[in-house]
Symmetry: C2
Subunit: 195 residues, 2 copies
């Protein structure tokens, strides 16, 4: 009979991140992660398919947060207003109390080329999911891709700033500023690039 | 003594693409590629490190074409004008007579998840290279990333359209239209997203 482990996934995740950060991702085994919180490797594999998934299992929730933002936007919202709503909603996934965790996670990822590739892939999937959501809202093919990719770029830049040492602003605030910078950049160009 | 093989790289590339397209990438060996044009496998490996490199060896030349565009832009060009120049320059890398080749190459890549990942990685590298070039032109960190990523997205959308069946427009023309669409999208948003 499988015993129910209260909060096992959270305990495993916290322990794994600490081990990855101190010993290195490659050097840490699933057995060590499990044992460090008094659980078995079998329990680990009930929650995560491998140690990499400890770092990426929130991906679907993050994608859902983007989509919830699109859903909450008014019917007349333009494509980039939908993206702005998605960015604000995604930021709720990263409250300030999660900043330290996100910083540690990123430092682990930065040290490992395969994890960096996986993180890039995660962002690309979120952009694709967001573009699909825009299309379902009636945005045409090209505009949906342009707006969604812009949203993913803004998210990525804002997130990098949010986890900087000593950064105090919220992710929502930073994302709004970066999006505004994109609008300013393109407004300047719109006047000067010939039709 | 190594015999000089006139145009061996080009012949190998053409043969490889045909084999990949008809038999499948996984099913084609470097030996078969070499033998199909009367060359040895050793000759193949003098030109390409593996069969995947046949599909990607133009990457540096493409990146160089983007950079040449940035270099050719006037000193007062705004970040997105630099990107517009880079896009126009990159299009010169894909004259219309290369369209059939590009179509076949893309169909091979689309059928293989690892090749799709490699192609995504290639585009990401080009965006990074372009952002670095913008920084060297004095564009600040965030603006350089936003502009370069926008450029990579525009390129990717334009390229997908350019290789569509029956498409007649040049890549330069399509890229200019897609960039214009991005400017229109953001102009609409700039009026409506609160500061």
């Amino acid at each position: 009979m499988v015993r129910w482990e209260p909060g096992a996934a959270e305990r495993l995740q916290k322990a794994a991140l600490e081990l990855f950060a101190t010993r290195g991702f490659e050097q840490t085994t699933t057995m060590e992660i499990a044992e460090s919180v008094g659980l078995t490797e079998r329990t680990f594999f009930r929650h995560f398919s491998d140690k990499r998934e400890v770092l990426f299992h929130g991906q679907q929730l993050l994608a859902d947060a983007f989509l919830a933002g699109v859903d909450s936007a008014p019917a007349e919202a333009s494509p980039l207003e939908l993206v702005a709503a998605a960015l604000q909603s995604s930021a709720s996934f990263f409250p300030d109390e999660r900043r330290a965790h996100s910083r540690t996670r990123q430092s682990v990822i930065d040290q490992n080329p395969a994890l960096r590739e996986r993180e890039r892939h995660k962002l690309a999937s979120i952009a694709t999911t967001l573009a699909d959501a825009l299309r379902r809202r009636g945005v045409d093919e090209v505009a949906a891709t342009l707006a969604a990719e812009s949203g993913a770029t803004v998210f990525s830049i804002a997130f990098t700033q949010w986890i900087r040492e000593d950064e105090q602003r919220s992710l929502a605030g930073i994302a709004a500023e970066v999006l505004r910078e994109l609008l300013t950049l393109t407004a300047t160009a719109a006047e000067r690039i010939p039709r």
